[in-house]
Symmetry: C2
Subunit: 422 residues, 2 copies
Amino acid sequence: MSKDYTTLWKEIGLNLGKHDGLLSVLSDAYKNIYLSQKNRPEGMKYFDFVISEVHGLRIEELYEAKKEKRKVIGTFCVYVPEELVLAVDGVFVGLCAGAEVGFEEAEKYVPRNTCALIKAFMGFKLSGLCPYVELTDLIVGETTCDGKKKAYEIFDEITRKMYVMEIPNMKNDSDRKLWLEEVRKFKDKIEEISGKEITLNLLKKATEIVNQKRLALQRLSKLRAYDPSPISGLDALLVNQIAFYDDPVRFTMKVNELCDELEERVRKGNGIAPKGTPRILISGSPFAIPNWKLHAIVENSGAVVVGEESCVGSRNFRELTDENFNSLEEGLEKIAMRYMGIDCACFTPNKERIDNVKSLFKELKADGVIHCALQFCTPYMMEAFKIEKKIDFPYMRIETDYSMEDFGQLKTRVEAFIETLR
Amino acid sequence: MSKDYTTLWKEIGLNLGKHDGLLSVLSDAYKNIYLSQKNRPEGMKYFDFVISEVHGLRIEELYEAKKEKRKVIGTFCVYVPEELVLAVDGVFVGLCAGAEVGFEEAEKYVPRNTCALIKAFMGFKLSGLCPYVELTDLIVGETTCDGKKKAYEIFDEITRKMYVMEIPNMKNDSDRKLWLEEVRKFKDKIEEISGKEITLNLLKKATEIVNQKRLALQRLSKLRAYDPSPISGLDALLVNQIAFYDDPVRFTMKVNELCDELEERVRKGNGIAPKGTPRILISGSPFAIPNWKLHAIVENSGAVVVGEESCVGSRNFRELTDENFNSLEEGLEKIAMRYMGIDCACFTPNKERIDNVKSLFKELKADGVIHCALQFCTPYMMEAFKIEKKIDFPYMRIETDYSMEDFGQLKTRVEAFIETLR
C-alpha cells in the first residue's frame, strides 16, 4: 500500500486488528497466484496497483467522494443499472465477496447451507472488514436467487440501508413491464437519495461511460480468442473483477491501454503459454474478488483460461445499452431492455444461455468447458445438468466454494480433464 | 387394497416389481406409525381407507375420469388455482412426494444438494412409480423456489407436459398485475386442454366447492385448539395431505363428519393425550405424503402436534376466495387476490408469515414451535433464522430430509425441547 490508512479505517469503523490480518493474507495470496506468473503484460501493473490499494486508495477516493456529497451505491449483481447511478454522479461499487471471511458470524444469521458468496458479504460486514459496505449510502439487492433474496431481508436488519429491485422469473410481456417499472422506481430512489434530477443529457452521458467500459471488456475478451492467448485467464479475470469497483472512466482507459499492448503481442505471436495449449472456457456462478481458485488450478495444470461465461465475465459486458434515445422515458426503456437481455440462470426458461455458451465456445476457440457452480447456488447447479445434455464438446461440472479443502481433489479432476483435451 | 389393480398399473406403465415393493414399505410404515395409535376417532377410518387405496381406487377413479374426457391436472404447490380446474370438471391432484424413492435416478438430472421434495417427485417419475404423474394431462409448476423453478425445465424434458405459472417475488402493484395475468393465462390454458369454456356459473360453483373444502379444514384446525386435543397431529396431518388428491366434495363431507365426532369428543373431554400434554405447532416447509417423520417423533416424545403452519396445513386453507363476484373477469380477480394472500417464504419481504405464526401459536394454544425446513429449502431455512429473532416463545429450528438417518438425533433434540415445555 502506498501509505498508512489506519486513521481512515478507524474512522470508517473497521476492526483494525482483524483487518491487518486480512490484508496480509490477501497480499500473500496475490504474490503467490498473480505475481508469480511469467511474461505478464506491462499493462497489468495498473491492476496490480489497484489490488494493492483495494482497501486503501480506492477507499480514500470513496471517502472523498462522500465529502463532495456524491453518493456511494453498493450492489451485488449485474442487474442493477449502473447508468442511473452514474447519471447522478454517484459511485457504483460491487459488494460481492470471494473469500471465506467471517463465515462463523454469518452462520448466526443464515443457514450453513448457504452459498459462499452470500456468507462472504455477510461475514465481511459482520466482522467489520468491508470498508465498501461501511461507505455505502444505499445497498441495492435484487431477487435473482432464493439465497440472496432472503438474505437481503436479514442484511437490511443489520445495515438498515438495503433497497431491493425485483427481477422477474420469466421474460414475458408482463415481466418486461414489471422490470421497466422497477427501473423507473430505482431512478426515483437514486434521485431521492442524491437530491439530483436525472436529465436526458445526464443519462446519455452516463450510458456512454458504461458502454465504453463494456466495449473495452469486449475488446479484451476478443483478444483472448487468439492462439496463443496474449494474456492469462487469471489476469483477465482480475480485470473483470476490478470492473465492479474501479472508477469507470479510468478503468476503461487502462483496459484499452492493456488491449493496445495485447494487440501488439498478438501481432508478434507473444502468448502467455505456447500455441496449442489447451484452452478452457469457464462457465457458471460469479467469481467475486479474490476468488481466483479455479483459474489458478486450471492455469497451473497446463491449460489457459480463455473466457468466463459468468457475471464476472461475459454476462457483465456482452450487451450494450442502446444509446439512441431522445427522451428520459425512452432512455429508461432502453436500459430496462438491455438488462432484461442478460441470460441469468434465475430465469425460466433460459435457453439463451445455452446458445451463448455454445457461441462463446466457438468464438474463443475453446477446447473444453468447465462449468463451475458455487455450492448451494441452485440456479447454476441445475443449469449445469441441462447444459451437459445439450452440448457436444468436452465438458466438466464442478461444485465448489471458497475453501481450500477441495483444492487437491479439484486439481486432480481438472488435470484429468485437460489431459483429455490434448 | 380392496382388489387387484395389476392390469391397471400395467396399462399406466408402472414398474410393477418396484411398485409392489413400494406399496409394501408404505403399508408397513402406515401400520407402525398410524394404526398403532390409540383412541383414534372413528372418522379416521375413511382416511385409512383412502391411504390404503392411494395407488388403487383413486387411480381407478382418475382413469375412469379420463375415459369420460375429464382432464387430470397435476400440481406441486398451493398457488395453482384449483377453482379453474374444477370449473371445467377437471381432476386436481397434488404431485409432491414425501419419500426417498428413486433418488439415485433423480440425481442424474438434478444436483445432490436439491431438496428431498424435488428429488422425490423426479425419482417417483423416473422409477415408474407414480401413477398420478402418468395419468396427468397437464402438470402445473410454479416459480416459488430456485429448485423447483429450474427442476421443472428438466422435468418438462422428461414428461413433455409441464406448464409453469409465474409467482412474482414481491407483492407490489406490478406483481399483482403480473399474477392476475398469470391467472388469466391459466384459465385460457385449462379451457384449451379441456375444450370447455369457463362460464360465470361454472366458476362460482367451483369456487364454492373449494371454499367448502377450506372451511372443513379450518373447522378441523380450530378443533385442535382444545386441550386435550381431540385428534393426534399425525391424523390431522394425514387429512391435510389427502386434501391434495381426494375428490373435493367427498373429502369435504368426510372431514365434516370427522369434525362432528371431534366436537363430541371435545364436549366429553375425550382427548388423544391427557390435558396438559405439551402442545407443538410445526412450521415451515410442506410435508408431502408419506412424510410423517417429524410428527411421529414429536408424538412419540410425549407431546401433541396441534397445527401445521405449512403448505400442507394452514397455508392451504387459511384464506377463502371471495365468492361475491358477478362476472368472469371479476371472479378471476378474486381468485388472483386470494392466492396472492398466501404467505409463502418465496416472497420478499414476507412479514405476514411471522404475524401468522404468532397468531396461530396463540389461537392453537401451543406451548412451543418447531420450525422444520427441508434441507436445501433455502426460503424456509432463511425465514427460520428471521422468525427466531422476532418471537418470544419456545422455538426450535430443524433441517431434515426424508431419510431415517437423522431419526435418532432428531428424537433426542425434540425430546429435550419438549422437556423444557413441561
